[in-house]
């Protein structure tokens, strides 16, 4: 049973790192933290692979390592090198409020997940709840952060959450499905980074509050 | 025979397409030709129906599965009204040929023949014919809405702020009202499994009541009755021949026609519909009469007169629910007679505007002296509209009152309303007579003295209509007997 506890603990660690990603002032540091978080995710995948004797999950772990620990952080890190770091961290709500909201997300996720009965995930209710909460964390990040790159990181967090849910519930899905979802995720980051880059180049801002001219 | 009925409906539509394609210089002649042909077709239908003992028939034409979407019904009423609507359409097309020119002093900024005008007008004529001949609820609804759309294009023809506003007001009001008909048609479809009007009689009374409420709302909107009347006076921003056609002869009659057609199909109708119809008609009638007095603009006066005349028709149709066939015939005859009389009146107003450049009544004096033809037509129209014998308005109004007395036998309270209606007639006669006497005889005012001559095509339409207004009174009543 060590593995189950390990998985649940590691998932808890995910939450912690994602709070750090959200609250860190410098986006470049956030990107590094995100890489670290993805490493934890890979560890969870490996643990799950052992626990469930699911060979596919080794593959998942490998692809997650490639894309989430290496590729996406590098893209973000490099892109952030080209932009002015001083424009960075503006929030729509203060840090205590966003932590409070995060706590709320955790509570909601636990209540919802404990309601459903899934034979395949009975042991992993905490991990499942955390993955859902993690998904909400990502959304929280997108809503509360005005820096476009922080919003992209929010998307990445969201994606990590759903990826964990997927690993817990749908690890038996054909590989092609996982590849499809992973490709979408990577491309989403690439496109978001490219768009943010264009916006920076063209409008000289990374503040989403300045992107509010369209109304009505 | 159905071929001719269909030709009457489709020829104007064909014309409207041709108008878009053909060279600009052909537009006028094409329009006149197709409407003339359509008129001949419907007159032939009328004639042959009269020859065969006026026995009505129905022919289903368009199906969706085994559901009849559209069919034509040819009987005394549809043949009579169909021919007058198309005949008047032809006359208006002819009249427009002269009216829409740079010689028109009322609208000097106008720039030549426009396809748009004839396109909408011809589509409108076709839609009106399709509506009158329809044997299905869906046909009534579809053509009802189509006339609304065309009226928008026609009222807004002059393209200035005022007319565009008026056009929008007109279409929004009538389309809002048509929601009633839309819902009623959908309910009719759900309940009878089809659209044929003949199924109306099979419905029970509660359902009939609800359906008629929907139909009445639509009819009130289209026929400019309270509380949906306000679009009509503003719609006078339309070119005057359009006002004559839409706001006297045909479009405003679409509402009453649908009401009449459904009454006829439904057989017995719950009396509550009659009560509602009669009361609203009387209220509108009086409102219209009161609005005569402040009007300075010739056309706006005519608009309010139209509103009251349409209330007469609603009044008579509602009376027929109480069991008076006379009132029903009176109503149909009045649709016919009023179309000619009021249409003529509008065309006179148009002619006056064309040659003098004003439609303000205080500026119009001594028309007869300067423009004898217009003056005479003015007199004929005024007498016909107010119902002075032997002009056509008299016959139908008289029949309506006769029907009123007949219905009052069953429901004594109706007698009060009939008397009120008679009072209204007297009032409106007195006012129109006053208007007539101050504008037609006597010395010409400055504007009238400086008047130019009107186009020959306009004269042609005026003369024909004046003759019809004088002669048709006998005809409609005799035909409906």
């Amino acid at each position: 049973m060590l593995n189950v506890n390990l998985i649940n603990t590691l998932s808890g660690l995910l939450l912690l790192t994602s709070l750090l990603v959200i609250e860190t002032k410098k986006p470049r540091q956030s990107a590094i933290l995100y890489s670290f978080q993805s490493l934890i995710l890979v560890a969870i995948f490996l643990a799950l692979a052992i626990r469930m004797e699911a060979d596919q999950l080794y593959l998942w772990a490998a692809s997650a390592f490639l894309t989430k620990v290496v590729l996406v952080p590098v893209i973000l890190y490099r892109a952030l090198g080209k932009v002015d770091q001083t424009v960075t961290s503006l929030n729509t709500v203060s840090a205590p409020v966003s932590v409070l909201l995060a706590a709320l997300a955790v509570v909601v996720s636990f209540t919802v997940v404990s309601q459903i009965e899934l034979k395949s995930a009975a042991d992993f209710i905490p991990a499942l709840a955390i993955s859902v909460a993690h998904f909400f964390f990502g959304q929280l990040c997108i809503v509360t952060q005005r820096n476009l790159f922080k919003q992209i990181l929010g998307f990445c967090l969201m994606e990590n959450g759903s990826h964990l849910t997927l690993a817990l519930l749908a690890y038996r899905a054909p590989e092609l499905v996982e590849i499809g979802i992973a490709t979408d995720a990577v491309f989403a980051v690439i496109i978001l980074v490219a768009l943010a880059g264009q916006i920076y180049k063209r409008l000289h801002t990374l503040d989403s509050a300045e992107l509010q001219t369209l109304k009505g | 025979m159905v071929t001719f009925v269909l030709a009457g409906i489709l020829l104007p539509f064909l014309g409207s397409l041709l108008v878009l394609i053909l060279p600009r210089s052909w537009v006028k002649a094409t329009s006149q030709l197709v409407t003339f042909a359509a008129m001949l077709c419907t007159l032939f239908v009328l004639y042959s129906l009269g020859m065969t003992g006026k026995v009505g028939y129905t022919q289903d034409l368009l199906f969706f599965g085994d559901i009849v979407l559209y069919g034509v019904i040819v009987d005394k009423i549809s043949a009579l009204l169909g021919s007058v609507f198309i005949l008047f359409g032809f006359l208006v097309v002819v009249y427009s040929g002269g009216y829409l020119s740079e010689k028109n002093r009322d609208h000097v900024e106008h720039n030549g023949v426009q396809r748009r005008y004839y396109f909408f007008l011809l589509t409108f004529i076709g839609a009106m014919a399709g509506l009158v001949m329809s044997s299905t609820m869906l046909g009534l609804l579809a053509f009802f809405e189509l006339t609304g759309v065309c009226s928008w294009g026609l009222i807004g023809y002059y393209n200035d702020e005022k007319s565009l506003k008026a056009a929008l007001k007109a279409i929004v009001t009538t389309e809002l009202a048509s929601v009633g008909l839309f819902i009623a048609t959908a309910a009719f479809f759900v309940l009878t499994g089809g659209f044929q009007l003949s199924a109306f009689a099979t419905l029970d009374d509660t359902i009939k009541t609800w359906l008629f409420i929907g139909i009445l709302i639509a009819a009130w909107g289209k026929s400019a009755q309270l509380p949906l009347h306000f679009w009509l006076p503003d719609a006078m921003a339309a070119p005057t021949p359009i006002s004559a056609y839409l706001h006297a002869a045909s479009m405003v009659k679409a509402g009453v026609y649908i009401f009449a057609r459904c009454l006829l199909s439904a057989g017995t109708v719950p009396q509550v519909i009659g009560v509602v119809g009669v009361i609203m008609a009387i209220v509108t009638m009086f409102y219209g009469l009161l609005m005569y007095f402040p009007q300075k603009d010739f056309k706006r006066l005519l608009a309010y007169s139209t509103i009251t005349q349409l209330s007469y028709i609603f009044f008579a149709l509602s009376l027929s629910i109480f069991g008076s066939a006379t009132a029903f015939n009176g109503a149909i005859a009045h649709v016919f007679n009023h179309a000619l009389g009021k249409g003529l009146f509008f065309l006179v107003a148009g002619a006056v505007g064309f040659s003098t450049g004003t439609r303000l009544l205080p500026n119009l004096k001594g028309l007869l002296k300067k423009m004898p033809l217009v003056g005479i037509c003015f007199a004929v129209a005024a007498l016909a509209v107010t119902g002075v014998p032997p002009f056509n308005g008299f016959f139908s109004k008289f029949t309506i009152f006769a029907g009123g007395f007949e219905a009052a036998k069953n429901a004594p309270l109706l007698m009060i309303l009939v008397v009120i209606a008679i009072l209204e007639t007297i009032g409106s006669f007195a006012w129109l007579f006053w208007v007539f006497s101050s504008s037609v005889p006597g010395d010409s005012s400055a504007e009238v003295a400086a008047a130019s001559d009107i186009a020959p095509s306009m004269k042609f339409a005026l003369v024909i209509l004046a003759c019809l207004a004088l002669l048709s009174g006998f005809f409609a009543m005799a035909w409906l007997k």
Binding site: S120, E159, D184 | -
Partner: protein, 539 residues
């Protein structure tokens, strides 16, 4: 039947997309080569959609890739929409991009920009990739791939939306990607929930993600889980479909994107996401009875309709007005599906097809206006009747069609919706809907009259915008008229089949809820869709 054409249908746009991106070194010939490639691809796609639809009509379904791709009547209906609208948008794009190329890409911070060669290449490449993703969404039988495809539509259209690179365009693109990816992520949760439940029931795990397999086992799915999943799916894919209150990206995106893209977004993409929602609703109907999905559809439908109409009133921007008309129509479609029964579903699908035709046409027209006036404001765009009579005629006809005036197609689908509502006892709802539609009618009419009539600005030259930008509009208008007056037999067959597929939830299970087919009262209850169409099918 196994269909190699189905595979080609996906590969052709994919190949075209890659080729367009690498066409680079041909100097002056680059543009003609791009255009040729583009034309060839959209034409081939169109032909292939017809072939696949034909196969579906003959054999009931077309399959490929060991059942991962499957097109049934419902799918074929959507495949045809993608094919036809894609083709017409393709034709339109040629004239449109040539004009925008002539305007030229500028770095100034202006409202409406132009294009350069680099952007043109991106446009053509993404256009085809976008088509590919939409086709994948409607042909996929694997529910997770369905999600992947919908997510990919967002990603592939993001740069199309921001193509002009101006401030509003970039803003719109950012909003679009962020809101839609977040929204669609909810859809992923819904999908995973359905899958993880199904995987416990279906022995062969590789097949547990196939829609057909899930449908077979629908009645044994966990009801609570499925309810939760469906709410997630409705919210998630509903975001993409522009269902209110998840619509906030929609007006910006539709109005700032280049017109052919707006046309594809509102005329096609919306349908693809609705398609996914319908697919899941079939599973839900089979498992839970029809009432659960129907009530959700009705609630969201009415909210969308009402809110959209509210936003349409007093709207000064032509594109935004048209954009808001999308949730209005989506609302109507949802209401029709929510009313249910064969007639309700038929009405909904018919409205969907009709809306797609008319809305695509309207966005083409707004593109023509944009090319002429370089503005979308009702204060500037006036007197189109003088400037371009033919465009103006089409615009008026389009407005008439969009508000559902006879004899255009929407009149009939609107009528069917109201009939279905009355047949199921929703009198008051139908009256409310009609009154709301009146407000939309007013807004659209005001736009039509303001644009076509009035005095044109003096600096605007007279003249039409050219063959490739008018011909697609003319074709769509003929379609709108033809479907109003006469239905081709093939389309009615497809619709019949599609209604059967969607309505499977009612007939195949004893669990059908109180709002199922039984409540279709009156003679309409006995009226089958077949008898409705039999005239046109030639029986």
């Amino acid at each position: 039947m196994e269909s190699p054409h189905l595979i080609w249908l996906l590969f052709v746009p994919l190949i075209a997309s890659v080729l367009s991106l690498i066409v680079h070194w041909f100097g002056d010939f680059t543009r003609p080569i791009l255009e040729f490639l583009h034309l060839a691809s959209v034409t081939a796609t169109l032909v292939l959609t017809f072939i696949v639809a034909g196969q579906v009509l003959d054999a009931g379904e077309a399959l490929a890739f060991s059942d991962w791709l499957r097109v049934d009547s419902l799918g074929a209906l959507f495949v045809v929409i993608v094919g036809v609208m894609g083709f017409l948008s393709g034709i339109y794009s040629i004239g449109f991009t040539r004009h925008e190329l002539a305007v030229g890409y500028t770095n100034h911070d202006i409202a409406i920009g132009g294009l350069d060669m680099g952007r043109l290449r991106v446009f053509y490449s993404l256009f085809h990739f976008f088509l590919f993703t939409m086709l994948l969404a409607v042909t996929s039988n694997n529910i997770i791939i369905m999600w992947v495809a919908i997510e990919a539509t967002t990603l592939s259209s993001a740069f199309l939306v921001g193509l002009y690179g101006t401030r509003p365009a970039l803003e719109a693109a950012w909003k679009y990607v962020v809101i839609c990816t977040v929204g669609v992520a909810f859809g992923l949760y819904g999908t995973i929930l359905v899958y993880s439940d199904a995987v416990n029931l279906i022995q062969e795990t590789s097949k547990a993600s196939l829609w057909t397999e899930i449908v077979k086992n629908a009645s044994t799915l966990d009801p609570t889980l499925l309810k939760l999943a469906f709410v997630f799916i409705l919210i998630g894919f509903g975001t993409k479909a522009g269902i209110v209150p998840m619509h906030s990206w929609l007006p910006d995106t539709y109005s700032e994107a280049p017109s052919p893209v707006s046309a594809l977004l509102s005329g096609v993409l919306v349908n693809c996401t609705l398609f996914v929602i319908i697919r899941f609703s079939i599973i839900v109907n089979l498992a839970l009875g029809t009432s659960f999905a129907q009530i959700l559809f009705l609630v969201f439908g009415v909210i969308s309709l009402a809110a959209a109409v509210f936003f349409m009133m007093g709207q000064k921007d032509i594109n935004r007005l048209l954009a808001y008309s999308s949730p209005e129509n989506i609302g109507l479609i949802l209401i029709a599906l929510g009313l249910g029964g064969p007639i309700g579903i038929l009405a909904g699908l018919l409205q969907l097809v009709n809306h797609s035709i008319v809305k695509t046409m309207m966005f083409f027209l707004s593109g023509n206006i944009l090319m002429k006036y370089r503005s979308r404001s009702l204060d500037v765009v006036k007197g189109l009747m003088q400037a371009a009579p033919l465009t103006s005629f089409f615009l008026l006809a389009g407005v008439f069609a969009l508000v559902g005036a006879p004899p255009f197609n929407i009149f009939f689908s609107k009528f069917l919706i109201v009939s279905a509502g009355i047949a199921t006892g929703y009198w008051w709802l139908m009256i409310v809907c009609m009154l709301l539609l009146m407000l939309a009618f007013t807004a659209l009419f005001r736009m039509g009259s303001s644009v076509t009539l009035g005095q044109k600005p003096v600096e605007i030259q007279n003249g039409e915008s050219g063959f490739t930008t008018l011909a697609p509009i003319a074709i769509l208008m003929v379609l709108a008229l033809v479907l109003g007056l006469f239905m081709p037999a093939q389309l009615t067959d497809l619709l019949n089949g599609a209604v059967e597929v969607v309505n499977a939830g009612v007939t195949a299970t004893p669990l059908a809820g109180p709002n199922g087919s039984a409540s279709v009262a009156g003679p309409l209850g006995g009226l089958s869709v077949e008898s409705f169409f039999s005239f046109f099918s030639g029986h």
